[in-house]
Symmetry: C2
Subunit: 420 residues, 2 copies
Amino acid sequence: MRAEIITIGDELLIGQVVDTNSAWMAERLNEQGIELYQITSVHDERAHIITALDEAFGRADIILTTGGLGPTKDDITKQVLCDYFDTYLIEDPHVRAHILELYKDRPDVLNRLTATQWMVPQCAEILENRVGSAPLMVFHRSEKLLVTMPGVPYEMKIAMEEQVLPYINEQRTKDNGQRTSIIHRTLQVTGIAESALAIEIEDFEKSLPSYVHLAYLPKDGIIRLRLSGYGEASAEEMDRLFGHLKDCVAPHLIADTDDPIEVLVGNRLKQMGATIATAESCTGGKLASLLNRHAGSSAFYWGSIISYDNSVKEQLLGVPAEMIKSHGVVSEGVVCRMANAVRRQIHTDYAIATSGIAGPTGGSKEKPVGTVWIAWATPQGTTAECFHLGKLREQVTDRACTKALVGLLKILNNHSSICK
Amino acid sequence: MRAEIITIGDELLIGQVVDTNSAWMAERLNEQGIELYQITSVHDERAHIITALDEAFGRADIILTTGGLGPTKDDITKQVLCDYFDTYLIEDPHVRAHILELYKDRPDVLNRLTATQWMVPQCAEILENRVGSAPLMVFHRSEKLLVTMPGVPYEMKIAMEEQVLPYINEQRTKDNGQRTSIIHRTLQVTGIAESALAIEIEDFEKSLPSYVHLAYLPKDGIIRLRLSGYGEASAEEMDRLFGHLKDCVAPHLIADTDDPIEVLVGNRLKQMGATIATAESCTGGKLASLLNRHAGSSAFYWGSIISYDNSVKEQLLGVPAEMIKSHGVVSEGVVCRMANAVRRQIHTDYAIATSGIAGPTGGSKEKPVGTVWIAWATPQGTTAECFHLGKLREQVTDRACTKALVGLLKILNNHSSICK
C-alpha cells in the first residue's frame, strides 16, 4: 500500500517555512506498513494543485494533503477540491456546532470568515478536527483515498493520530484485510568515517537479499545505519540480519535503536538513578534544552548555568579571572572548572561544560572558529577534550552538543553503578 | 525563470530526516528573482528519479537536486544521471587533487570508496565542492540546466552560495540578460486572530492588483503577513502597498520585517546598549539558546540559570521553599522572584523568567498542562503574565519562548532609554 503527501502552500516554496510535517507523517505511515512514495510541495494555485493530484492518483493508493485550509483568501485547497471532485459546498451542522463550541470564549474568532469553515464539499466525508476549525475531508475515488489536513503542525499531528490513521486502517481491513510489511532497524556508530565504515561492512552489505536495503545517514559525527526490509522480509530475518550487522560494527556501536542521542543519555541516567547539570558557554543552553526536550526529563536533568559572558563564568562558576586571562576562555582549565562548579552547585552526579568559538568572529590562528573544549565531571573525576567542529555557527554548536552527549554516554556505559 | 528542487533519499520518505535544505534554497532562489515552482522528494530508486527528472524538465528551466552523492552503495544519483544523459564516468584530475588535499590528514577517509568520488560523468561540468567530496555536477539540456548538490546541509549551503548561484546568474546573463523580479515584503502582528485580521484588512486585500498576493502565516501567536509581487510589480509599488498594509494593521504591528522574534529583540537591545539574562524552568534553556542563536549575541545576552529542579530555584535563585509550597512552582510570585534574582546575579538590565507545565504530566484542574507564567524584570520594575499555551510539550515551550520575547519587545519599545 502506497501513500503520497502533497503539501500545499506558497510559504514552503519561498522558504518562509520549513516542512517538518512530512517527516513526521512519513514515520507514522511507515509504522503502519504504508510506504510513502513521494512528497510534492506545490503552490496555492489551482492548476498546480490539480496536476499534482492527477499525478499522485496515478501512483498512490492514499493521498494526504496538508495546508491551504485556513479561512483567509490565500487558502484555496477546499474550493479546488470541490471543483476536482465535481461537487459543491454545503453547511455541515456537526462542524458548525464543533466550531461554535471550540471558540465559545473567543468572540473575536467567531466571525463570518470562520463561518466559512463549516461549509464543506457535499461528497466528502468529514472527520473531526478536535483542536481547530479546518475540516478534515475524505474523498474517495474508485479504490483510492484522499484526506486533507491543516498545515499547522500540532493540528495535523492530532488529526493524523486520532482520526486519519485509524480511518485508513479501518478502510484497509474492510478492503482486503491484507497488510504488507515494512521493517526498519537502525543502529548508530561513531568515531569512524562513512566510507571507512562502508568498506568494513562491505561483505555484509553484499550478502543482503534484494528486498533488504542498507542506508547510511551521517550527521554531526554520528552515522545511523538503517536496514529496511520490504514485503518478503520477516521480523525474524530482519532481527537476524540486524544482529549480524551489530556484530560487524561492534567497536563503533553506540546504540542499537534510532533514538536521538539525548534520549539514549536520558534513558541511561534514569536506569542508573543519576542526575545531570550543564554549564554552557558556546552551546548557550542548547545542550540543556536537548536534555529536557522529552517528557520525563525531570527525573535526571536538574539545571544549568549558562555563562555566555565571562563575568558569569567568574561570578557564578568561580572561574578565576587570571585563569581566563592566562589560558584563554576556551581552554581545558576553564571548562573543567565550569563542569566541577556546576556539578557542585546543583548537586548532581554528572555535569557537562562547554566553551568554544562558535563564530563567525572570535577565532585566532591557535584557536580557529570551531574550536570547542568539552568537560565531563563525574563522581570518578573530571575529563576534558578539545574538538574542531567546522566553520558554521549552527554546525559548531550542534556538533558540540552531540560530542558532549556521546562522550557522556560512553562514560555512563563504563559506570555500572554510581556513588553519590 | 523557474526552478524546481528534487530531493533524493529514502531517509526523507521514511521520516528519518527533516528536509531543511529546500526552504533555505527556496529563499536564496527567490532573492535572485528565480521562482521555485515545486519541491519533489523521491526515493534512492532509479525509475523514480528518472520520472521526477522528466516531469521537472517539462516544467522548469533550472533543476536542483540534493542527495544521493555519497560514496556508499545506497547513493545512486551519479550513476542514474550518467544513464539519463547517456554518458559515462571518467576520472577528473582536479576533483582528485582536491579530494586528496581535503583529506590529507585523514588516511582513514582516503580509501577506495572515497576514490570513486573523483569519477564524474564525462558530459558534466564540475563545480568545486570546497568542503566535501561529493561532486557538484552541471548538466545542460537544450536551454535548461540541472545541478546536483550533496544533501548534507552545510555542504549544500556552501556549494549553493559559492558556486551554484553565481553559475546560474552567469548563465542567465549570457542567455538574455533579462531578469524577472519577485519581491516579498513581510510584516508581523500579534494579539489578533487570523480570521479577525483578514476581516480588518479585507478592503486592502480586495484592492490589490492581480500580480500581488497576500499570504497569512500564523505561528505561536505571531501572524506574518506577506505581500508577494510577481513580474509587473515594481519595488516602488510594493513599498507603497506595504506602507498601506502597515497602516491598516498598526495597532497589532510588532515588526515590518520577516526577522525572527529573537532577532527583533536582539537588535533592539543592541540599539539600546542593554543586556539580558534568563531564568528558565519549563523552557529549559530554549529561550537562552534562541537569544544567543545568531552571531553578535554576546553584545546583549549574558547568561542564564536553568532551574529545572525546584532545588535549583531555591538554592541558586533564592526562591523560598515555603513560597513554592504555598503558591505552587507555577505562580506569579515564583516567576517574579526568578526574574529578579537572575537579573541581580548576572547584572543585566533586563531578565525574563518562565515557569510552567509543559506536560504531558504534571497538570491539575486549576493549572492544566500548558499553563505558563512569564515574568519580565526591567530597570522600571517587574511584571508577569499567565498564559495557556496548548497541550503538546514542544508547542507549549515554543509558544512560551515567543510570548516571552514578544512581551519583552513591547516593553523595550516603550523604554526609549535605559537607566542602569
